[in-house]
């Protein structure tokens, strides 16, 4: 805190400033220093230019004419015209009615769904106590069982591709009742090898297994299997190689569940 007594004189000094002679104030603002306003040239420099402007060149008049022409365009109507055109176009395309979503085709067990990546045929859905051969070991003490989906797959891409539980072709197969969670395991049906490779155009019978709560499904119940199509992307710049992404449901297969108990 500075003592108030030291500041007061300064403030009163600044208040006194307008009381100074006008010439001194002008000298303070002039970059030429004290005495400059008294010099006759200084008056000439600071005085407004009273000469009439020279005749505008031909280009300027042409511009002025153009400007005058554009000023006659009724721009205030533009917003209204634009709105009218937008509304007319909207009405022409069906107005603001909700667009009907394309119905996803419904298939029965044994019917094939083909896309650019793979051809899939959901054959059967089987409920088992456990299925360690296919990679899903359920714990009966915790009331777990295994849902096994038998799917025929044929690679339609131009290269061999591994099917893993966590991705690849398996990610395009989802069970609606399981909220399309990825399977526990994927194996071949014929020799039970896990995470098999799909060779192009060579059909393979796959077993996808999920460990599920024992009371979730019952014998004869119909489940919906959602098959998704994907788009092929090619990496560039920082991503290398080709990959499938952007899944969208393309078919719903309804399969009845067979409860096979312990599988015997």
């Amino acid at each position: 805190m500075s003592p108030p007594g030291r500041r007061r004189p300064r403030r009163s000094g600044s208040r006194r400033a307008p009381a100074r002679p006008v010439a001194a104030a002008a000298a303070r603002h002039s970059w030429r220093g004290v005495g400059a306003p008294r010099h006759p040239y200084a008056v000439v420099v600071t005085a407004p230019d009273l000469d009439s402007p020279p005749a505008p060149p031909a280009r300027a008049t042409r511009f002025a004419r153009l400007r005058a022409a554009t000023d006659r365009v009724p721009t205030r109507w533009f917003a209204g015209i634009g709105t009218a055109v937008f509304l007319a176009a909207t009405a022409a395309f069906g107005g603001l009615e909700a667009v009907a979503v394309a119905e996803v085709p419904r298939l029965a067990a044994g019917e094939q769904h083909v896309n650019d990546r793979v051809a899939l045929t959901v054959q059967r859905a089987v409920l088992l106590d456990t299925f360690p051969e296919a990679g899903a070991t359920a714990d009966p003490a915790q009331g777990e069982r295994v849902l096994a989906l038998l799917v025929d797959a044929e690679n339609r891409w131009d290269r061999a591709e591994m099917v893993q539980a966590g991705g690849g072709v398996a990610s395009t197969i989802g069970v609606e009742a399981l909220k399309s969670t990825p399977p526990t395991s994927v194996a071949r049906y014929d020799d039970a090898s896990r995470d098999p490779w799909l060779q192009p155009l060579v059909p393979v019978a796959l077993v996808l297994t999920w460990i599920v709560p024992g009371d979730l499904f019952t014998d004869g119940e119909e489940i919906e299997v959602v098959l998704s199509d994907q788009t092929l992307w090619s990496g560039s710049f920082v991503v290398d190689g080709d990959y499938w992404s952007d899944p969208r449901p393309a078919a719903v297969v309804t399969v009845p569940i067979e409860d096979r108990g312990d599988g015997s």
Binding site: D158, R159, A160, R188, D190, D191, S193, P196, W197, Q199, P200, L201, V202
Partner: protein, 190 residues
Amino acid sequence: MTAARRPPLLRRIAPWALGLACVVAAWFVALATPADTVAWEPFPVEARTGEPAAGRNLTVTVHDAVRATSVFSGGWRAEGTWVVVDVAAEAVSSERGASLTSAQLIVDGRTYRATERAETMLDERLSIGIARRGSLGFELPADAAGTAVLQLALNPDTRADSVIEYRIDLDALPVAAERELVDAQWAEAP
């Protein structure tokens, strides 16, 4: 501007002609420029039956190729359309990371991977000086025909690396009813 002060016709046309010539020349240069991918394309090494073909860190001798309708290995057996290739391979300069992890057959623009269903030469670790010899099996669609190219490399990422290539005429291959997929074993001769 008066007509007398106009530059001669040649001087007026020259910049346009030169500019046009530059555009045409640039078009030819762009046409002759190799694609970006050329910088890291693999180096193919052509292999012949029974002769060693040497790449950066991989020497391969393709001994035999047959077509079979049934293959087996131990207790495992599979039916289908199979091409079985017997190869011997060894490392050249380093055993570190020297495994035959990339074995593929290109047929009609499609890439088939050597089968992982049986124990074969696929993923086999290689040594310097002593070759490993065994089979590679390829499962193909029933109507596979034409020329196939076998590609062998140490890494699935073959960019700027050498790739041993061996051409196979699928129509001229000897056909066997069944064929064993032989697991890798030490070979006396490469």
